[in-house]
């Protein structure tokens, strides 16, 4: 996790985990609560309850999620990365999400509000969320899916020199996609009668995803935002191209922040086509500067405001329609 997250996150005393004595009765209750989960989840929960060490939390959370996933989908969770989506990939609906939360609350002795659940979309979101709750940190922005119109609106790069079609951004990563159409102007000459996506442009695409992360996912200081006009490339290390990419290929781009200290932010990045590696980059470093956050009267249209009235936690149903319990 970038240092900036910790440095800029206010500690909330009310939500901080407080270690309580762990009695044999507690252990029996814990065993009962987790009896349908893998034994490793129970062991991790015991360790956490004894020590309060957050390192044990992911094993508990994954074990609880696994217990609520239909058996035929559990294999997906076995070697899942943090981008595995709860609804689309695991078939978890909003009610099952609440079942998961209630069990996690019970096992980890914490409270979670409905509002906090609404945007948890991936396994990584859930792990990060629980981890922050236990450490008493402010929960980072959850993964957001950003469509092409929004990308074009916020990015300093514009077509025909924008190489991201869609993206998702969280505080810990950004993922994007770009389909090579064959209409890109540079393919006319790269190469003669042999259109191949230039490796330099693929590196550019990863750099653009890192820019999008800085603008949409990077935790900034209070009252400050990153000035889009100040972001520039400064360097890269360990770039390797593994695969020739041609028109029709769908590039899956991924970057993760490694270090961030004003005025530099360093990322690792990769591009895949399906499961095949295309480009791997050990480090891409960008420079940036902050500016004052726009004052409200001058602000661009803000994202949808938080509802002011409490309502049940919502997650979109697999068909995309909102799904709430009917009274």
């Amino acid at each position: 996790m970038p240092d900036a997250v910790n440095a800029s996150s206010p500690v909330s005393d009310t939500s901080k985990f407080v270690l309580k004595p762990f009695t044999p009765e507690d252990e029996a209750a814990l065993r009962e609560s987790l009896r349908r989960c893998a034994p490793s989840s129970f062991e991790a929960a015991v360790q956490f309850r004894r020590t309060g060490n957050p390192e044990h939390v992911p094993a508990v959370v994954i074990g609880v999620i696994e217990r609520f996933v239909e058996p035929d989908l559990r294999s997906k969770l076995k070697d899942a990365d943090d981008d595995l989506r709860l609804i689309e990939d695991l078939g978890i609906d909003s009610l099952t999400m609440m079942e998961i939360v209630i069990l996690v609350e019970d096992v980890l002795q914490m409270s979670i509000n409905n509002d906090e659940l609404r945007n948890l979309r991936t396994v990584g979101d859930v792990k990060t969320f629980i981890d922050c709750k236990i450490r008493g940190l402010a929960v980072p922005k959850p993964t957001r899916f950003i469509p092409i119109e929004v990308i074009a609106a916020v990015m300093p790069m514009q077509p025909p020199f924008l190489f991201i079609n869609e993206a998702s951004v969280s505080s810990t990563a950004a993922n994007g996609r770009y389909r090579i159409t064959g209409q890109e102007f540079f393919l006319q000459g790269h190469f003669k009668d042999n259109p191949v996506m230039p490796a330099s442009i693929m590196l550019e695409a990863l750099g653009q995803l890192a820019v999008l992360y800085l603008l949409e996912g990077h935790p900034a200081e209070a009252g400050k935002v990153i000035n889009p006009a100040t972001i520039y490339f400064t360097g890269c290390e360990g770039v390797r191209a593994h695969r020739v990419c041609r028109p029709g290929d769908l590039l899956s781009l991924s970057i993760k922040p490694k270090r961030s200290k004003m005025p530099l932010a360093t990322f690792e990045g990769s591009i895949r086509v399906g499961q095949e590696k295309a480009v791997m980059v050990e480090e891409i470093t960008l420079t940036f500067a902050l500016m004052d956050a726009p004052t409200p009267p001058l602000a661009p249209p803000a994202p949808a405001p938080e509802p002011t009235t409490p309502e049940p936690a919502k997650a979109p149903a697999p068909d995309g329609s909102p799904k709430t319990p009917d009274a």
Binding site: R36, E70, L95, T96, E99, I102, E105, D106, S111, P325
Partner: protein
């Protein structure tokens, strides 16, 4: 007016978990009453119930429940169910298979589902207790839909992907008869082509023992003598649970699908006592009113009725009221239909009763037998002038009444006719 037929049946009952087992029990008067393990405690004076065999739905966690292996219920389905939902799910699978219905036949705007259960006091008790002990936000998100009175229709309508009419009925022991009556109306009015009607109840301490407080349950310790409607020494009803599911279809739909039918549902009547919240009218005023309405609706004379499946639950007051109501309707014309209460075999299934007993009548008409009223040693003299059937007849009724009465003085009479 379009005619309505019963084309499919499913049973999970104390006297059998499919139609053939139920039919065999009705013919041989084999009852399902037993000493009920949860009642074998010093502070529980009630000792017997009529449990459902091969289902163990005891804990509060549906994933602990066991049921016959011919059924599979996915976690996402069973997690929101009460025990009555599990019984009903299994009975519905039978009825759907029996009627030869495909998924497309069930999930369309012309097919609806009406259901009746009293909810699950057991699941509701657990939910409220957890709310009080663990906190408001630590209750299962599905606790409500697994426990309140509509749990049966919520679950079945959603999980069977029903797209037509759907509703739950809540008139206690008349509930599933009301459901059948209004399902009939929906088809006759052309609103639906097919209706699935479900009655189901839990069968546990919490569903049965609250009736002990009103002194409605038999305190007999002998399972062979506990449920004996119309017997002079009857002392209350025996609780049961389970599920019965009936498929009703319009005559056009029967012709289009070329399916077999059990019998015709000809019409129905209902009337209320206007008397007492829990005690039936001493002269059976509401029940005789329901039978009058049923005769009028079906344009029948009392002499055409060959069999009455009585509501008679084996309580002193209720059976007497019904006997008087039957005399009021049939004696003036000298008609004397055979009368029996199959609750002597099954116990009283509350919201389940009307659907279960209409299913019994459909089996009797189709298969050609008339079930007797078991366990009568000394017939109550108040039944003089009524043809209480003591043994099963090897011939089936041509026209059958199924009576049901519920709390508040609600009464329903359904009329079935050989097709």
């Amino acid at each position: 007016m379009p005619r309505v037929f019963i084309t499919g049946l499913g049973f999970i009952t104390s006297i059998g978990n499919d139609a053939s087992a139920v039919s065999e029990s009705l013919r041989t008067l084999r009852h399902g009453v037993a000493l009920f393990e949860p009642f074998q405690k010093d502070d529980v004076p009630v000792k017997v119930a009529a449990p459902v065999r091969d289902f163990r739905l005891e804990g509060v966690d549906p994933e602990d429940w066991t049921y016959p292996s011919r059924y599979t219920i996915r976690r996402e389905v069973i997690r929101s169910m009460a025990p009555n939902g599990v019984y009903a799910w299994c009975a519905a699978q039978q009825a759907i298979e029996d009627a030869g219905l495909s998924e497309a036949d069930i999930s369309n705007p012309d097919t609806g589902l009406y259901a009746a259960s009293g909810g699950s006091p057991f699941m509701l008790g657990y939910l409220l207790n957890r709310l009080n002990t663990h906190g408001v936000m630590r209750c299962s998100p599905l606790g409500i839909v697994a426990s309140i009175a509509g749990t049966l229709n919520f679950n079945l309508v959603a999980h069977l992907r029903i797209k037509g009419s759907s509703c739950g009925f809540s008139s206690a022991c008349a509930s599933s008869s009301h459901a059948l009556g209004y399902a009939y109306d929906d088809i006759v009015l052309g609103r639906q082509k097919r209706m699935i009607v479900v009655g189901a109840e839990d069968c546990n301490r919490e569903s049965i023992l609250p009736f002990a407080g009103m002194r409605a349950l038999s305190l007999q310790k002998d399972p062979n003598r506990a449920s004996r409607p119309f017997d002079a020494a009857r002392d209350g009803f025996v609780g049961t649970g389970g599920a019965a599911v009936l498929i009703l279809e319009s005559e056009d739909e029967v012709a289009r699908r070329g399916t077999k039918v059990y019998c015709e549902l000809v019409g129905w009547g209902q009337a209320s006592d206007g008397h007492n919240v829990a005690i039936s009218h001493p002269e059976g005023a509401g029940l005789s009113g329901a039978m009058v309405k049923a005769l009028r609706a079906t344009k029948m004379e009392p002499g055409e009725v060959s069999y009455i499946n009585a509501h008679a639950t084996s309580t002193p007051i209720g059976d007497l009221s019904e006997a008087r109501a039957i005399k009021t309707i049939f004696s003036p014309s000298g008609a004397s239909p055979a009368v029996s209460s199959t609750k002597a075999l099954t116990g009283h299934g509350l919201s389940l009763a009307g659907a279960m007993e209409t299913g019994f009548c459909a089996l009797a008409i189709k298969e050609g037998f008339t079930p007797g009223s078991a366990n009568i040693t000394t017939l109550d003299p108040a039944c003089d002038g009524i043809s209480i059937l003591r043994e099963t007849l090897p011939t089936g009724p041509t026209v059958a009444f199924n009576n049901s009465s519920g709390f508040g003085g609600a009464n329903v009479c359904l009329v079935l006719r050989k097709a």
